[in-house]
């Protein structure tokens, strides 16, 4: 299962963006999500889902990029995303 819907929901909740804004191809910097905010968001994801970022810098430019990165980690780390918590 793709993490995209969960990530979209979190972007709306945490950053006050609208559902229309957080399309997979939406560019983060155009949404006002700069590099600092992206790191902040990745920290939130790590804390919420007990994920561990690989530490390898990956180019994250769109909402879809975040989902792709998280999907890889979920698979590698054998985690199930559960946003009911």
């Amino acid at each position: 299962m793709s993490s995209l819907p969960i990530i979209q929901k979190m972007l709306v909740e945490e950053f006050g963006l609208t559902a229309e804004q957080v399309q997979p191809e939406s560019k983060l910097d155009e949404l006002g999500v700069d590099s600092l905010a992206t790191v902040e968001f990745m920290f939130m994801l790590e804390d919420k889902f007990k994920l561990k970022m690989t530490g390898e810098p990956v180019p994250i430019k769109t909402v879809g990029d975040i989902a792709r990165e998280v999907d890889i980690m979920v698979q590698q780390q054998g985690i199930t995303l559960d946003d009911s918590k």
Binding site: E14, F15, G16, L17, L31, G32, V33, L36, A37, V39, E40, F43
Partner: protein, 421 residues
């Protein structure tokens, strides 16, 4: 850059802004002070019970809600207050700095502590949980120049920028240095002021230990700060921001701006004596400097906004300094201490009180020194204890700000007239 002109240039104020315990505009501040309304109250939060006294002067307006969640990531409360006050001042001035004008505008901002809330949060998490990671935006939110940088970003102010930290005089210094920069032609306009937001458990407990906070008056806590009164026992911590737009006179007139007042003098000295004990010598030298720069004799000051924190020593020393400069006339100048009502806003005090002083100048009515009850032989001037006072001849007002570390900053403003008196 400024073109050749007569130097020094005249410096006028074309916009003011304030977010304080007395409201979220400069106008609200001035009116509340005149009415003698106090912003001091018991704090109501999860940790107030751990303080010896929960009294403070908090900003009640919902500051956070004025910013998007995304924007708030890098904005400590101190920067949020700065943006609100700065925005109000720029709006009143009618200055759009997004174009070329922003290149010739300086930024002069004061704060005692910077982002206290952010820093305390990061410390708390780090100490409590060995695995905790402070938020990635912690550094940029708590750094002392965070507000300054955010003001630049928000309003596109791209000239020189400075952050001043001299405790309680920080933003008076910021306004004074902005005045000098406009006066000398370094910049044509300046946004100057200061912000403070340090009502956190750790900071408040540290202040309690210093023994400078007012004893709560049980049946009337809002009157606990009593400057210049015999029964004074200290100040009440507050938070807020004040901002002024300073502008070179001819360009302000050329663009048809409403001129609120003229700043004519600034003095700044260092006691070089003790880190907390004020010194009448250092204070009086700052007052004399400001008078000299303004080209005024002591007989030409019509009203004084005192530093007047309400500490036993501080108020007596300030009284002494005023007597050293004004001599026998000291007793005839109305002296107002507004901290009784808005609390001690630390780094924001100087700018907020300058906004209050300019309001007094405009309305020709000085605010009272509230909550005064009993005469003290060591404080024997005219402290406007009866309530706001109309002064039909009020043309020149002086505002004092003295900070821990021994910094003394004094500003003098005059009602504006096209031909300087």
């Amino acid at each position: 850059m400024a073109q050749s002109a007569d130097f020094p240039r005249r410096v006028v104020v074309t916009g003011v802004g304030a977010v304080t315990p007395l409201g979220d505009t400069a106008e609200a501040l001035v009116l509340a002070l005149e009415a003698g309304r106090s912003g001091v109250r018991p704090l109501e939060n999860s940790w107030a019970g751990r303080l010896n006294s929960p009294l403070a002067a908090p900003v009640l307006t919902p500051v956070e809600s004025r910013f998007t969640k995304l924007r708030r990531l890098t904005l400590d409360r101190v920067a949020q207050l700065a943006l609100l006050a700065g925005g109000e001042a720029l709006q009143q001035a009618g200055l759009d700095l997004t174009g070329e004008a922003g290149l010739d505008c300086g930024l002069f901002w004061g704060t005692g502590m910077g982002g206290a809330t952010t820093l305390e949060q990061a410390y708390m998490e780090s100490f409590l949980d060995p695995a905790a990671r402070p938020r990635p935006t912690t550094i940029v939110a708590f750094m002392a120049n965070g507000s300054t940088g955010q003001l630049g970003i928000e309003f596109k102010i791209r000239g020189p920028s400075f952050t001043f930290s001299s405790a309680c005089s920080s933003s008076a210094v910021a306004v004074g240095e902005a005045f000098l920069a406009v006066r000398s032609g370094r910049v044509s306009t300046a946004l100057a002021g200061g912000s403070e937001a340090l009502l956190t458990l750790g900071v408040m407990k540290a202040w309690e230990s210093l023994q400078t906070l007012a004893r709560p008056v049980a049946d009337a806590p809002e009157t606990s700060c009593r400057p210049f009164s015999k029964d004074r026992s200290g100040f009440i911590l507050g938070e807020g921001a004040g901002a002024l737009v300073l502008e070179e006179e001819s360009s302000a007139r050329a663009r048809g701006a409403t001129i609120l007042a003229e700043i004519i003098g600034y003095g700044n000295t260092t006691d070089a004596g003790h880190i907390t004990q004020p010194d009448a010598g250092g204070q009086s030298r700052a007052i004399q400097q400001a008078l000299r720069q303004a080209g005024l004799t002591p007989s030409q000051v019509d009203a004084i906004n005192a530093h007047g924190t309400g500490t036993v020593v501080g108020d007596a020393v300030e009284t002494q300094a005023l007597k050293m400069v004004f001599g026998a006339r000291a007793g005839q100048i109305p002296v107002s201490a507004t901290k009784a009502l808005h609390g001690h806003l630390m780094g924001a005090s100087g700018a907020v009180e300058m906004v209050a002083a300019l309001g007094a100048l405009r309305r020709r009515t000085v605010p009272p020194t509230a909550h005064w009850t009993t005469a003290d032989p060591a404080c024997d001037l005219d402290y406007v204890t009866e309530g706001a006072r109309s002064l039909p001849q009020l043309d020149v007002i002086m505002s004092n700000s003295f900070g821990f570390g021994g910094n003394n900053a004094v500003l003098i403003a005059r009602r504006y007239s096209v031909v300087a008196p």
